[in-house]
Amino acid sequence: MNARIENASRRNFLQGAASLTLALYLPGAVASAANAATASAAAPFEPNAFLRIGADGTVTVISKHLEMGQGTYTGLATLVAEELDAAWAQVRIEGAPADAKRYNNLQWGPVQGTGGSTAMANSWDQLRQAGASARAMLVAAAAQQWQVPADSITVSEGVVTHAPSQRKATFGQLAQAAAALPVPASVQLKDPKDFKLIGKRAPRKDTAAKIRGQARFTQDVHLPGMLTAVVAHPPRFGGKVKSFDAKAALAVKGVVNVAAIPSGVAVLAKDTWSAKKGRDALQVEWDDTNAFKLGTDDIFARYHELAKSPGAVARKEGDANAAFAAPARVLRAAYDFPYLAHAAMEPMNCVVHLQKDRCDIWNGEQFQTIDQAKVAGLLGLKPEQVNLNMLYAGGSFGRRASKDADYILEAVQVAKAIDGKAPVKLVWLREDDMKAGYYRPAFHHALEAALDAQGKLIGWRHRLVGQSILANTAFAGMIKDGIDFVSVEGAANLPYAIPNMLVDLHSPQDIGVPVLWWRSVGSTHTAYSTETFIDEVAAAAGQDPVAFRLALLEHHPRHAAVLKLAAEKAGWGTPLAKGANGERRARGVAVHESFKTYVAQVAEVTVKLDGSVVVDRIVCAVDCGIAINPDNVRSQIEGGVGFALSAALQGAITLKDGVVEQSNFHDYAPLRINQMPKVDVHIMPSAEKPTGVGEPGVPPVAPAVANAIAAATGKYLRNLPFSTDALKA
């Protein structure tokens, strides 16, 4: 069956179609959707880069952001459809091609990319204007045809109506005429009280495909003559190939080639299983001369040593050292956070078709123009000769926003190694994905609090030690005065009113483990240390954890409001049902802002006699400004809870002599359904501009649970993941 990939970027695709006919495995419904898209393109009305209306009335919204599960496609389409007054059913979504001029992330400058929970926030005005502009042109076209004033025309559910003369037209009927009209210089956006889709329940546009096995992921791409590559990687970061013997690999049926590439040795075969068997048979000798050989125990020992000396100052208020000179009471706590793998369900992969003057890539593209530039640089092409097709990503959590384009460049290297003789699908097996690095960096935190005789918190010192994500990358320019802000976010901007504060940071540069942003980035560790430590301080001051925080949040009303809401909804201060047979139960609370979204959570926890922890319920209060799609907000917060609990209860990547010890889901186990708590999500009504929800549900989870465990057992857990040994009754 010949058809185009449904969720590929169509326009670039058409440009390349003459030289590249794709035989894709496409079930009927997707093929017909692709055909419909072609039909709707016959007489398109394309008023701007973000939408197109076909003669059949189909409204195609062009998404500049990656859909990796977070609901972006649906959210962006909602913004356009709202101002266009389209019927939700006539809207479809298509991924944009890489183009920093038209499709840049407005919060990132001249870069197209998805991350930092910015997709809706940066598109809020842009895509509503795109929809409103198209609507104005459709109305103008109707006014011209009917010879009536434009302001006597209404639009609703995709139908343009002139009520006095009872004339109606569909978008499709007006598309051609509208296309001939000038684009309005400015448009009036709706008053929020008139919203019909924003703030309501607009069902996701990708659900139908995803419940039928029809959504297109990179893993599902199959091009004619394509080879699948599985790569043998060095066991240690920084290792190299010394020598290899391909004989046994080439003897495997289906294997057609073995090629050395900078990151290892690639086995290319006609199918995935043959490639894997070929790699199993491959003999490689590695050169570990320059490889990183420390274990995580060694790394933490070094971090603990570093924490004894002052680091680069990230925040200074008053005179913290003076506050510690003669306080009534000092509390101290130190925390260790492990490396964490993203472990998206779809392991990293990438399809490359390399030709003489162009390179086509199919990928769950998250950093479009960064990847494009890196691929172009490697191949000696111009960026516009690198054609990126954005497919659905089977999760990312930051991993596909690779600052080094690591797996994409590896796929290109494989294609290059065979001189582009065949399209190549690079497949990382789960073990490759787990061991490849680009982890949430391991961190060590040391905190100290000084209280005066009245129990008032007068001093706060917070020292962080961990690798910088931005160092030695294209983003290194964002490091100011030795501070990589993603290392200290959540710590340097601690909202509590404390007169004397010092936050400082060590960013060791000689640890050879690649690190990367991991769903909520710095807040994955800073929320934990600050929000558990503040609970310890509240206890030392003899105060209720909610009341203690509220007293320090006078200048942060949005923090305070979500904290109050979560406490109220969770029944904070009322008795919790007792556990059976000596099981200990308690509540714990945490509040944290990340990416300008404010989340408070109250965890209800049962600690069993053997020390195991059951998280029964998490009550969440979220202030993300205007909730564009409240059901999706709930969905993202629920998911954030699951993601965070995986890490808190059982997530750790460890190294021994430089070798990653985990390989698959038996030793790096994400949460399963039997461990998932009940999650109640309460959204704060707001008229503020929308902010993101993909990440902010994560940070408060672990500290809220830890605070509940402390309330139940009297034991503060300082290291993640939680050790159940410490909690035995």
Binding site: A29, G69, H222, M345, M676
Partner: protein
């Protein structure tokens, strides 16, 4: 060697080594890509299919062991794609990234066949599939909805 397979009610031939997991025969040989690769170790369930109505993790099922078993994949969960679970999945807006959902649905379909009104404990025992996006609360609700139960039933 050539294996004769009954997949989604149709006869298929696959000329592969007998040890090849059914997953790769479905995906790479037959182009049925709805069934996903997640771990290759039977640990995540993204590759879940039915053989004679039973849940099988196809990534650890050698094709030689399939024999005359009737294989059913997500593509044929219901002839009109309106299985009660698919409808419930829409009503509860379950999928996020969607990669694990084929396997989730196949596991849930087998559960409801054997246990039409599952308790939470029965859902926990049957639904061992991994979802990294954390759709679990919605998976649970959707299963109950498809079973005609209220979300709070059988807690």
């Amino acid at each position: 060697m050539t294996y004769q397979l009954n997949i989604n009610g149709a006869a298929h031939k696959a000329d592969v080594e007998g040890e090849t997991p059914l997953l790769w025969v479905l995906r790479d040989t037959l182009g049925l890509t709805g069934t996903k690769y997640g771990c290759g170790a039977g640990a995540c369930g993204a590759c879940t299919v039915h053989i004679d109505g039973n849940v099988v993790r196809s990534c650890v099922m050698p094709v030689s062991a399939v024999g005359k078993g009737k294989v059913r994949t997500i593509e044929a969960l219901s002839p009109d794609r309106k299985h009660a679970l698919q409808q419930a999945w829409i009503a509860e807006q379950v999928p996020q990234c969607g990669y694990c959902q084929s396997g989730m649905l196949m596991a849930a379909a087998a559960l409801l066949k054997s246990t039409p009104k599952p308790t939470d404990a029965q859902i926990d025992a049957a639904m061992t599939n991994l979802c990294r996006c954390g759709t679990y609360p919605r998976v649970r609700r959707a299963i109950k909805r498809a079973a005609g139960m209220k979300a709070e039933d059988a807690a």
